[in-house]
């Protein structure tokens, strides 16, 4: 890392987030109702976020950089991708297909290599959840590609 302190970057990112909040707050149309309009408190909170970011940056410039553990980039990237794919596929592929694939995939990413056991566990677990939610609690889970 060439950065002296991760909080310096973090602080600036926080300032940016605060600006986004403020932008959202200040573009709220006034409802012309009541004493305090809908934009007031969001603006206050946005300003607080910006201030916290500036504060954080200021503090970090004076502090020694901490030791941050190295990232295990490969499993992290794979896990983030797997979750993103799972959530994206949840409705189009349906609960059962996407969940079984994800359960199995994430187990593998996180280091499990007992392929047969994981396959059995993923199918069994997902089917049990399906029965619990869809059949007993009447939550309408997406059927997706399966003809349910």
């Amino acid at each position: 890392m060439t950065l002296r302190h991760p909080d310096a970057i973090g602080g600036l990112a926080v300032v940016a987030l605060g600006v986004v909040v403020l932008a959202g707050a200040l573009t709220t149309p006034d409802a012309q109702f009541g004493v305090v309009g809908p934009a007031v408190l969001p603006s206050v909170f946005g300003i607080l976020v910006v201030l916290s970011g500036l504060w954080l940056t200021a503090v970090s410039l004076r502090a020694d950089p901490p030791v941050i553990e190295a990232l295990d980039a490969r499993p992290l990237t794979l896990a983030v991708t797997a979750v993103a794919l799972y959530f994206a596929a949840f409705v189009p592929l349906g609960f059962i297909v996407s969940s079984v694939a994800f359960f199995f995939g994430l187990s593998w990413i996180l280091g499990s290599r007992a392929v047969l056991r994981d396959a059995v566990a993923s199918v069994g677990f997902v089917l049990a959840l399906y029965v619990l939610f869809e059949r007993l609690l009447t939550v309408d889970l997406p059927g997706g590609v399966l003809p349910l």
Partner: protein, 339 residues
């Protein structure tokens, strides 16, 4: 692999326990999803959801849930019927979502009302009641004006007199801004000859939430649908000052505004609607189902119990909504609630 098998057993044991708990309910209660008895039209073939665009326990919610109960108990449909709550801004939050996400889906119904039309006008929201496919105007209900039990107000005349002295001193609690509660509050201030700008209206998510503030004397007046305050009025925790409808309630002797010498007549209505883009066949079928609900025992009992007015109709609803929209716009503009 005995070790991993043992681990799996732990997982299954936990899950089996959960399932056992739920299975008990499933089998201990009457089955709600018996196979379809007849299939004259193919609607409905799967679960129907009725959205109540408000918190549980409020007017929209109880109307939706009684509709749900009627569909099931009077055996009008054999599929599951669920009610989902999506509170906010007089129903416009839920309506906006329904229009956006469920267009063309006849299994996603919604209960809207005059409040929703009012909020869409004052809030200038994109979603409009007129975009929905109306199924039936299911009922009408009077508004009621209440005061804390210890209030000096005993009649609507006392209220108008107080508003004449200082409208700002009379804080009025009710539902979302721009809804019928707010409108009635503004009409009262106008009736007292004062500028609506001086109305001190404190909006809550619904009558239930406003009730605590009214009972505790946090505000001087409360306005909501009669059904939302009925319990507190009966328990004498609130004093009913007047109802807004022209017609008196059957079982209760609360004076109407007109009887109190105030020339205001307001009645709230609720409308069962489907999302935009529903086929004519499904619309017709839904109207038929709604009519069966109305004619059934559950609904008729609810009319009696909740002191609703029976204004059920499935006819000319598009015109009805359009008329309400334009007359409300005119009223709210005249009151200065829309600029």
């Amino acid at each position: 692999m005995p070790r991993s098998m043992r681990r799996l057993t732990a997982l299954w044991a936990a899950l089996a326990l959960l399932l056992a708990g739920c299975g008990g309910v499933g089998s201990g209660a009457p089955a709600t999803s018996a196979p379809a008895a007849k299939a004259a039209s193919d609607y409905p073939t799967k679960a129907i959801d009725v959205m109540a665009p408000a918190n549980p326990g409020g007017g929209f919610d109880s109307t939706a849930r009684i509709f749900q109960k009627a569909l099931t108990d009077d055996k009008i449909v054999s599929v599951n019927v669920t009610v989902s709550n999506k509170p906010g801004a007089g129903g416009t939050v839920g309506m906006a979502e329904l229009i956006k996400n469920s267009a063309g889906d006849p299994y996603k119904l919604i209960m809207v009302g005059r409040v929703t039309v009012g909020s869409q006008i004052t809030g200038k929201t994109e979603a409009k009641v007129s975009q929905l496919t109306p199924i039936a105007r299911v009922m009408a209900e009077t508004e009621v004006i209440v005061a804390p039990a210890s209030s000096p107000f005993n009649s609507i005349k006392d209220v108008i007199d107080a508003l004449k002295r200082d409208p700002k001193a009379v804080k009025i609690a009710g539902g979302s801004a721009g809804g019928i509660d707010h409108e009635l509050a503004a009409l009262l201030v106008k009736e007292a000859g004062k500028d609506v700008k001086d109305l001190a209206y404190v909006p809550f998510a619904g009558g239930g939430e406003a009730a605590a503030a009214i009972i505790g004397g946090q505000v001087q007046l409360g306005i909501s649908g009669y059904g939302e305050f009925k319990g507190q009025i009966d328990a004498k925790q609130m004093k009913a000052i007047a109802i807004s409808a022209d017609q008196k309630l059957k079982s209760v002797s609360i004076p109407t505004l007109k009887e109190g010498g105030v020339n205001i007549g307001l009645t709230n209505w609720r409308l069962l609607a489907a999302p935009p883009g529903i086929s004519e066949a499904d619309t017709a079928r839904l109207k038929e189902i709604a009519t069966k609900v109305h004619d059934g025992k559950t609904w008729q009992e609810a009319i009696e119990k909740n002191s609703w007015f029976d204004s059920f109709t499935t006819e000319n609803l598009i015109t009805f909504v359009a008329t309400e929209q334009s007359s409300l716009t005119a009223t709210l503009t005249a009151l200065g609630l829309v600029k």
